[in-house]
Amino acid sequence: MNQASGNRVVFSVVGQDQKGIIAKVTAILADNDVNILDISQTIMQGFFTMVMVVDITDYIGDIESLSMQFRHLEEEMGLKIRLQHEDIFNFMHRI
């Protein structure tokens, strides 16, 4: 059950569609040694919505500190970025 048992994190980005969101987000992920396992992006009710599953095994730090790396970008581009351990989704949607 420990976080160490899995290092997959669901990374979601919601905000006004604009140029460069994916480029800037993925650049920060790459700089922090985070590997993208899955990525899907769509426009939902006018909002840019991107959901990625990422692996943070090689990242030095925890989910909280990684999410702090995105605070500046959130403000700059008016985005809502959240990182959630994948267990919460597995628990809520899988028996």
């Binding site: 059950m1 979601s12 899955d38 925890d62 597995n90 949607h93 899988r94």
Partner: protein, 453 residues
């Protein structure tokens, strides 16, 4: 096993738009090994034990919250009912003990500490009586200490002597805390069939059968249920129950994950998940609005009790599938001051004290956060408590009363408590007397339902 985008977005929507949260991670702590005839040593013992065992509670809950992205609103502690560990303490000693508990809660950054309690459903010891008599002052001078008094069980019957005393103490507590809108009474709940593992306040305490330390989790989520139902406006009642079950399942799973993580990291066994729908004053996070979505014009209209019965049962069915250990109160709460829909229903004249009493027959608790006129007599409050206790005793369920006779206020006025406790309209209470019943004293015998062996 891959996650579908739709499932991920559903969880995010529940948190962002529908107020999904975990209401509380509550650590139960046994204080029996702290007993000492010298009250100063006892205070030192409980302070040490609580601040050691729960040293990391806040930090662990904060961390889990940020990892899974679901808010955990409160961190709480429940303790052995203090009157059970008391050794000939005076009411003044109990006030000092309450202050010690308050200090421990503040040091730890804990929202509430419950268990300043006495279990007197069959009779009172001198210690228990002293604790009850200390409540007006103890609950006024402390901020985070919560108290509960067990006055009845199905097995023991109803202790009317205790109810008579508690009725007087509630009125005294209202006066003692008149300067803070009689807030002391909002931290005191009177139980029939009190659960020993309830993580919710004000009624949480660490029961006799519990281990030294335990983690219990209370979920929430009326907003999530309400939004789910809004997507099926034409569904028949069987389908309505199904929608609630599915939603309750998901909410409870989130609680189960939090409970397992918290227990592991705090080095304590995981006790139970309390499957309760606990409303807040946030828009849409209302049990009353769920009942209105099911089909009554305003909460309190005929049919409300039926809708509540359906909802309460569906929450339990869905939730019990989602956790290996359900416990506590497990059902729906109908606190008036903490639910904007309930407040609106009272203000519209649709919801009365009598209707709320009927609703408590099918919900998880009872008359919760009810503000009544400040001049309500102790005997009338005792009568209200006795009625609730009778419902619980006969139906073998938990019932409770958290009633606030707000000093200086009359029916129709509003009172603000702040925070999770919300605000409440002062409700009308019957003017006819219950004095003779209350003054008779003694016990109402345990019902035939108690003879199950």
């Amino acid at each position: 096993m891959t996650l579908a985008l739709q499932e991920i977005m559903e969880t995010i929507r529940m948190v962002e738009m529908e107020n999904l949260d975990i209401r509380t991670v509550t650590m139960g702590i046994n204080l029996k090994d702290c007993a000492h005839p010298d009250v100063n040593i006892f205070k030192e013992n409980i302070y040490q034990k609580i601040t050691t065992k729960a040293a990391n509670l806040k930090e662990v809950a904060d961390k889990i919250q940020s990892e899974i992205g679901i808010p955990i609103i409160n961190r709480r502690i429940s303790i052995t009912p203090i009157a059970n560990v008391g050794i000939k303490y005076s009411p003044a000693d109990y006030v000092e003990i309450a202050k010690t508990l308050d200090q421990a809660a503040k040091l730890l950054g804990i929202d509430f500490i419950g268990g300043f309690s006495a279990l007197v459903h069959k009779g009172m010891t001198q210690d228990e009586q002293n604790l009850i008599n200390s409540l007006p002052e103890a609950l006024t001078v402390t901020e985070r200490v919560c108290s509960s008094i067990s006055v009845a069980t199905t097995k023991a019957g109803i202790n009317m002597d205790a109810i008579e005393l508690v009725g007087r103490v509630i009125v005294e507590a209202a006066h003692a805390s008149a300067h803070i809108n009689s807030l002391a009474c909002a931290k005191l709940v009177v139980f029939c069939n009190a659960p020993e593992d309830n993580p919710f306040m004000a009624g949480a305490f660490h029961g006799e059968g519990e281990p030294d330390v335990v983690i219990n989790v209370g979920v929430s989520g009326p907003g999530v249920v309400l939004h789910a139902l809004k997507r099926y406006p034409e569904a028949d009642l069987g389908e309505v129950a199904n929608v609630i079950k599915k939603t309750a399942f998901k909410i409870t799973r989130a609680g189960e994950l939090v409970g397992r993580l918290a227990a592991e990291r705090l080095n304590a066994p995981f006790g139970i998940i309390d499957l309760s729908l606990a409303p807040t004053n946030a828009t849409g996070d209302s049990v009353a609005e769920i009942l209105e979505e099911i089909g009554v014009e305003v909460c309190g209209a005929p049919g409300t009790t039926a809708a509540l019965a359906l909802m309460n049962d569906a929450v339990k069915k869905g939730g019990s599938m989602a956790t290996s250990h359900a416990g506590g109160l497990s059902g729906a709460f109908i606190p008036v001051s903490e639910d904007n829909g309930m407040i609106a229903a009272v203000e519209a004249g649709a919801l009365s004290l009598s209707k709320l009493e009927a609703m408590t027959c099918v919900c998880s608790v009872g008359l919760d956060m009810i503000a009544v006129p400040g001049n309500t007599s102790p005997a009338t409050i005792a009568g209200v408590i006795a009625d609730e206790a009778a419902i619980g005793m006969i139906n073998k369920k938990t019932t409770a009363v958290r009633i606030i006779p707000v000093a200086g206020k009359a029916a129709g006025e509003m009172v603000e408590f702040g925070g999770l406790l919300g605000r409440a309209p002062i409700m009308e209470v019957s003017n006819f007397s219950s004095q003779k019943l209350v003054s008779r004293g003694g016990r109402i015998p345990a019902p035939i339902q108690a003879l199950t062996n």
